[in-house]
């Protein structure tokens, strides 16, 4: 199945991409994608959990299981206001 991963602000800068279409296995969780990112990006490697995770524009736990077509976003701590 396919999911779309979104990255914002400093995370986008670290990873060097704002969006990725990813082919994943059934049962994959948001945190599994995060761990894949950690493996290749030293600046986030120390972080066992993403700052915030949203699936289809709702905040969720990173252990949330993804489904085909889901849009998963890793979100740095927000600083609006």
């Amino acid at each position: 199945m396919k999911v779309r991963m979104l990255l914002f602000a400093v995370l986008r800068d670290i990873v060097g991409a704002d969006e990725r279409e990813i082919e994943v296995a059934d049962g994959v969780r948001a945190i599994d994608l995060w761990n894949d990112l950690r493996a290749t990006h030293p600046r986030i490697a120390p972080y066992e959990r993403p700052p915030f995770t949203a699936v289809n524009q709702d905040y969720v736990k990173p252990e949330t299981v993804l489904h085909d077509g889901d849009e998963v976003a890793f979100i740095p701590p927000v600083s609006g206001g």
Binding site: F8, R43, P46, P51, Q57, P77, V78, S79, G80, G81
Partner: protein, 137 residues
């Protein structure tokens, strides 16, 4: 309601949007770009946003604060893009028959916006630019 704008915020329009003939109190809050942060000089801030989710979160905040303060009328707008010192990044207007609700609703909105709305700022000063808060390692 429009929650996001790329232009300077029209404060009077927000006041006009909330103030009813039955209101005796208007509380307004503006977040403003200031010339320092964490000991460093700041010249400007770039606000980045994930628009669809930010709009969704802001609509949720508006609905939940309105439910918590049923006598209050609430409007707020966050500005995006490059802002200089003295410019407002967010303006919140709350009107109510009595001041208690107007103040509380206004305060509640800014606290919630700062917690959950996907907006991030990158500060620029004499020493360069950087994202505020979490930056990885």
């Amino acid at each position: 309601m429009t929650f996001l704008t790329d232009d300077p915020i029209d404060q009077q329009a927000l006041i006009d949007a909330v103030l009813r003939r039955s209101d005796g109190a208007l509380a307004l809050f503006a977040g403003v770009v200031r010339d320092h942060h964490a000991g460093k000089a700041v010249e400007s801030i770039f606000y980045e946003c994930w628009r669809p989710m930010a709009e969704k979160e802001m609509a949720k905040i508006a609905a939940e604060v309105a439910a918590a303060y049923p006598d209050a009328a609430i409007a707020f707008v966050h500005r995006l893009g490059l802002l200089h010192v003295g410019e407002a990044s967010i303006v919140i207007a709350c009107a109510s028959p009595h001041r208690e609700e107007a103040f509380s609703a206004c305060r509640e909105v800014i606290e919630r916006v700062k917690k959950t709305v996907p907006i991030w700022k990158r500060e620029k000063g004499p020493d360069g630019e950087e994202w505020v808060g979490w930056q990885g390692q």
